[in-house]
Amino acid sequence: MAVIPGSTELTAPYWEAAREGRLVVQQCQSCRQVWHPPLPSCPHCHSASLGWHGTTGAGTVYTYTIVRHPTHFAFAGKIPYVIALVELAEGPRLVTGITGCAPEDIRVGLPVRVVFREVADGVTLPYFEPSNG
């Protein structure tokens, strides 16, 4: 059983990009600042002219937790699993999961890169795995 993101007009492009294997963050077309999660106007210059910036998918683990006790039946079969806050090279942080290594090997500051996981038909979530230097 998958828990999947619903979307709004504002957030749909993020998930559409993920489905195509791209990790994007919102970008102001006037002042070029980037941020995440999406907002209806630029928090820096208030421009409503916004677009999407394709990231390199590289980042570091800002913090993480290893969940050993599920709080939702949909995750009961998935423990232990890792929730992380990853800081992208471009600056914004996002909530994600870490895959591709033992949970015990994760550290704050670990370099990671994005991978894409199809969790349900037509639904892809960005995850991260160690980028091995």
Partner: protein, 402 residues
């Protein structure tokens, strides 16, 4: 300025227990009546109410006005953000009294987690929760509607306050150079100290349950680095208090507890559990809020005799010691390891047992305990307590004094 212009003149609470037969509505009625009786006011004369906004408070002021036969409320208000409402409800009520919009304001909080909406079980609230169905269909998907960025968190299994504060605690340890052992010692000291307070508090759910290091460490890991006893209780119960003008307070009772200051605060992503805080995640709390709290109260940290810190997890009192200026940033853990937070420490913390060991009432039971401390009636009385701070981890707080 609120300083000493308004006072808390009555407190009331129900039994706290894992499951009570009463509904939240009945619990709220019981707590409000107890608070009014304690204040010596006729509940029919209550003319103002302030509460936590939805989805937190299940009992509306309309339900209480109806059930209690209150003649008329001339003012009522709500504060959002769950635990971050604890200072806000005091601030709203005090401001209303100061402005003459109401003279007798009741603030209340009722919880009935046994009947649904457990904070620690995401599947008892929100998407996929009770009534959503699909629990037995492995092919079904649960769609998380986008609201407040939950659609970016739930699909990864980030669903509970405990998990969120595990992220904070891990970051805290990394930034401040704590070993895993030092982090465990710090969090465990807070949890064990609060349990000892609860063991002496007849109202505490954990009054009979001792917690030593062996038992603490044996608690199962929930969301690393937080284990079972680092997380708050889930329960049923209600509490309430009555706020009125200082002038009226002295006619009503001999022991009014004055409000020196009360704060609420909001900056981008600094709402409770605002995981996307720009800059340093650990600065959930805008430092200006603490300065305002003390400046408006006209006291300093050295004047605070006892603190009741919001503690959905043991991490929160730790960080609150720093945020409210009792220990330098990043040094709270050393402070806890050196001085502790117990009865003989420079600042006894959560003398009722807190959410970890008395009961979870969204910070409101901390306000009631502060009132008892200032009246001199706490089960864990701090000698000559004159000034108390009740605070949440993102900056909503109140300073009270006798």
């Amino acid at each position: 300025m609120i300083r000493r212009e308004v006072a808390i003149v009555g407190i009331g609470q129900t039994t706290y227990a894992k499951a009570l037969p009463s509904t939240a509505w009945q619990l709220a009625i019981e707590a409000v009546l107890a608070a009014c009786a304690d204040a010596g006011v006729d509940v029919a004369d209550v003319d103002g109410m302030c509460r936590f906004s939805a989805p937190f408070e299940p009992v509306t002021e309309a339900m209480l006005v109806r059930a209690l036969g209150i003649r008329e409320l001339s003012w009522f208000s709500q504060a959002p953000h769950g635990g971050e409402a604890l200072g806000a409800v005091v601030m709203h009520a005090a401001a209303a009294v100061r402005a003459g919009l109401a003279s007798t304001v009741v603030v209340y909080r009722a919880l009935s987690q046994s009947k649904g909406g457990r904070f620690g079980r995401a599947d008892s609230r929100g998407p996929g929760g009770a009534g959503a169905g699909g629990a037995n269909d492995p092919a079904a998907s649960i769609v998380v509607p986008e609201q407040d960025n939950l659609s970016f968190a739930w699909p990864y299994g980030l669903m509970s306050p405990g998990q969120l504060f595990a992220l904070w605690a891990r970051r805290y340890a990394a930034v401040n150079g704590l070993t895993d052992e030092q982090l465990v010692q710090t969090l465990g000291t807070i949890a064990i100290t609060q349990r000892a307070f609860a063991n002496r508090n007849p109202a505490a759910m954990m009054r009979e349950r001792k917690l030593d290091w062996e038992a603490y460490l044996a608690g199962r890991m929930i969301s690393e680095p937080l284990r079972l006893f680092d997380l708050c209780l889930e329960n049923d119960g209600a509490c309430a208090f009555v706020i009125t003008s200082a002038q009226r307070a002295v006619d009503l009772c001999d022991d009014p507890v004055y409000v020196l200051s009360a704060t609420q605060t909001l900056a981008p992503y600094r709402e409770p559990m605002g995981i996307y805080v720009p800059g340093d995640l650990l600065e959930l709390f805008p430092p200006a809020a603490a300065e305002r709290l003390f400046e408006q109260a006209g006291v300093t940290q050295a004047d605070i005799d006892v603190a009741e810190f919001y503690d959905a997890t043991s991490y929160m009192p730790l960080r609150s010691l720093e945020s409210y200026g009792f220990a330098p940033d990043g040094e709270g853990w050393r402070y806890v390891l050196e001085h502790g937070t117990g009865p003989d420490s420079p600042l006894p913390v959560n003398t009722h047992g807190g959410h970890l060991s008395e009961a979870y009432l969204h910070g409101m039971n901390g306000i009631l305990e502060a009132v008892r401390q200032l009246r001199g009636t706490s089960a864990n009385q701090v000698q000559n307590a004159e000034v108390a701070l009740v605070g949440a981890p993102a900056g909503s707080a109140t300073i009270l004094a006798r």
